[in-house]
Structure formats: C-alpha cells, structure tokens
Amino acid sequence: MELHAQGGLHYRTRLPRFGRALAYHYPSGDALFGCAGDEVFRLNLEQGRFLAPLSLNTHAEHGNIIGVNAIDINPAHQLLSFAVEGPGTVEFWDPRSRSRVGVLVLPRSLALTSPSTSATVLPGVDSSSRTFAATALSSRSDGLSLAVGTSTGHTLLYDIRSPKPYATKDQGYGLAVHRVAWIDGGSRMAGDGFILSADKKVLKVWDRESPSSNFASVNPPSDINDVCHLPGTGLFMLANEGIHMTSYYIPQLGPAPKWCSFLDNLTEEMEEQTVRNVYEDFKFVERSELSAYVPSSVVYRFPDVPYLALVWTT
C-alpha cells in the first residue's frame, strides 16, 4: 500500500495479505482493503494506524471465504458492501457499528447457465476460477440501487430493500465483469437510469428499464482492464492490455466535457457528411435466393451454415 502526495511517495506500508480492492471512507478517514482471505483491513489515515479488521468469517454459513473482490461505499448513506468470493455473496456492513447488517446471496443458477461451466476442465486453466462470486459492485447516488457484476458475466441490479434482482444482464461471453458503474450526470444525459458493464471483451451501456437491449456496445481491439465514465458527459476512458489507452465518445448519451467542447462540433460535422456504408456495394441474400446470382454448382460449395450469404452486386 502506497500513499502518494503531491511531492511524491508519502508513505508505504505492507498489507497482511494480498490486496484485491480498495475504498476510502471519507467521514472516518478509513482506507478499506479487500484482500485474499476473510478480513477487510482498515487503515485510518487520521490516526495513522490499522484498526481492527472487519472479520467476515463469523458469518460463513454459505461457504468458506476466499477473498473480497470488490468494495463499494454507498454515496448516499455510507453503507459498505463487500463482494465476497467463496460463498458468492455480497455482505453489507454499517461503518458506524462495524457490524454486518445484511447479506445478499447471489443466485447460483447463473453459474449453471454460464458458457464457462463446460463439462471439460482443463487443469491449470480453469480450475481455480470456477467459483461463482461477485467481481464488481456499484451503488447509485440515490442510495437504493446496487449493481453487482459476477464472475459469470452477469450484471444484476438490486434494490437494496429486496433480495431479488429487478434486472439481469448477460454480457454474453461468460467472462468475469470487471467494472459496473451507474452513468449519472443530470438532465443533459440521454436518460437517468443508464448503467455500464464491462468484461474483458466488451463494454455495454444499457438502460436499467430494458436490460435485454444495449444502448451502445463497444468491442475494443485489446482486452479491457478498467472503464471510467466522466460524469455528466458521453465520454468513456478505458484502460486495456494495449499500449494506447482508449477513449470513446457517445454524443447521444451526453455532451462533451467542458475541456474538449470542440468534440461536439467535430461529431456534428461528421454527422453531416455522407457516411460511406461498409456494405453498400453488397446485398445480403438467403440461401434460397442464392441460385439467382451464382450457378448452383457453386452454391453447394458454400459450407452448410444458416448464415446469410454476401453477394457482390456491382
């Protein structure tokens, strides 16, 4: 754990276990560390010492705790939520009484429908990562909504008063969700219930009212590590496995940030230009129509798959 200040590295100390997630509780000045193992360590920055860790193992009725994957602090009422790997739960803790106030058991049925749970197990490849757990958490500024990303690539939306998710979204790849976040920003945004979810392959932006359809989805060429949305704008920044970090701008989601307001003009100019359609010289035909364009002897060389065939028409 390193503490950096303006002048450079301010202080460095060791954590008892390998860290996984970090959060800072402003009212008390506690830095919270989710680690491998069943404890959440607290380092108080005002007193400059570790406080008694929050010990999750006293409630391990759902299975052994392997680690804490993510920490979220509710911006409205400071409720702490921990994504616990092992039992596959999300634990809620009250920072004032430092005690558990609730536990959310994630629906394990998601793990069964996931494409990652195939019959064959490759040793060393997919043995340890089979545990079903939450991997990302995000609570909304209204204090009631909680988004949970799971290791199976699902994003579940909860009202914290109910143990059942009111919306479920599948990323479709069966890969762990790296980041979920509520897209807030007020009246200039396209809607107020948008949420982003990202796994290694794809970033999806969708409305909580209609989780089955995407508002936008982005497939970057390199694997995503982290996503950051700039509140009140349509700009996303992505940390990824490539050399260049990427940023994407969706004008229909929100305006450009103040520091690059020229983006709005640029994209408006691009809107006016006639967009060259990639497939404008092509026509999509079904297999039954294919004989009208090519001799039937050629048709049967195509693999027998139910996809549409492309025909060059010009």
Binding site: A23, P220, L266, V275
Partner: protein
C-alpha cells in the same frame, strides 16, 4: 476519429484504436484487402489514419494499463500501468500528460483521496 454506428447510436473513438476488428480500421479484414487490390486501398487507409484524432496526448503506457479514474473535479485523469509499473496523471484542461511517477510494484487498485471543498 472513426465512428462505429450500430443500433443507430454512434460511438466515436477519440483516443487509441477504433472499436471493432483490427487496429487501424473497423472494417472487416477481407473488405479492406479487396479495396487495396483495386488501388484505392492506400488512400482509404490514409483517409482513416488522418481522420483519427488523439484527444489526449501521450494517453498510453509502455505495455498495458491497469486502472483509470477521473478526479471528482473533472480536471485530471489518473491511470496506472506497466511496464515499468507507474502512475500517470493527465491534465485534461491541457489535454496532455502532467507527470508520471514510477512505483516498485504493479498496481491492483487505487483511489483518489480528494479534499472535499
């Protein structure tokens, strides 16, 4: 800057490689190859290359990036990456890198402890 239009919502790539396939182009590989045979390819590729914008300068790491966050004030973006393990802070008002600072170990997670004014 390339636009990737799907489901009528346009996504503009303003930094880094365009979404979709390949690195310089979001068009399918076989399509661009065909254009190159017709002699238009070079021009088409150059068009896209010139059209690409890099909103923030030096928005990169030598190998890969781990985490990125924007400060609450909205004026700075902070990112960590490898190799060597480092933190880079971007001044968004100037659209450029402000400073980089190296660390001993690769970053797992970070948070910005801002004074709430």
């Amino acid at each position: 800057m390339t636009a990737d239009a799907q489901e009528s919502v346009k996504v503009y790539t303003v930094n880094g490689a365009a979404a979709g396939a390949g690195s310089a182009s979001s068009l399918p590989d076989w399509l661009t190859r065909k254009r190159a045979i017709k002699g238009k390819g070079k021009r088409a590729i150059r068009e896209e290359f010139e059209g690409a914008i890099n909103l923030i300068q030096h928005f990169e790491f030598p190998e890969a990036s781990n985490r990125i966050k924007v400060a609450k004030s909205g004026h700075h973006a902070i990112a960590t990456g490898v190799y060597k393990p480092q933190i880079r802070v971007y001044d968004l008002d100037q659209l450029t890198l402000k400073f980089e600072r190296h660390s001993d170990a690769e970053n797992v997670d970070f948070t910005v402890r801002e004074t709430l004014l």
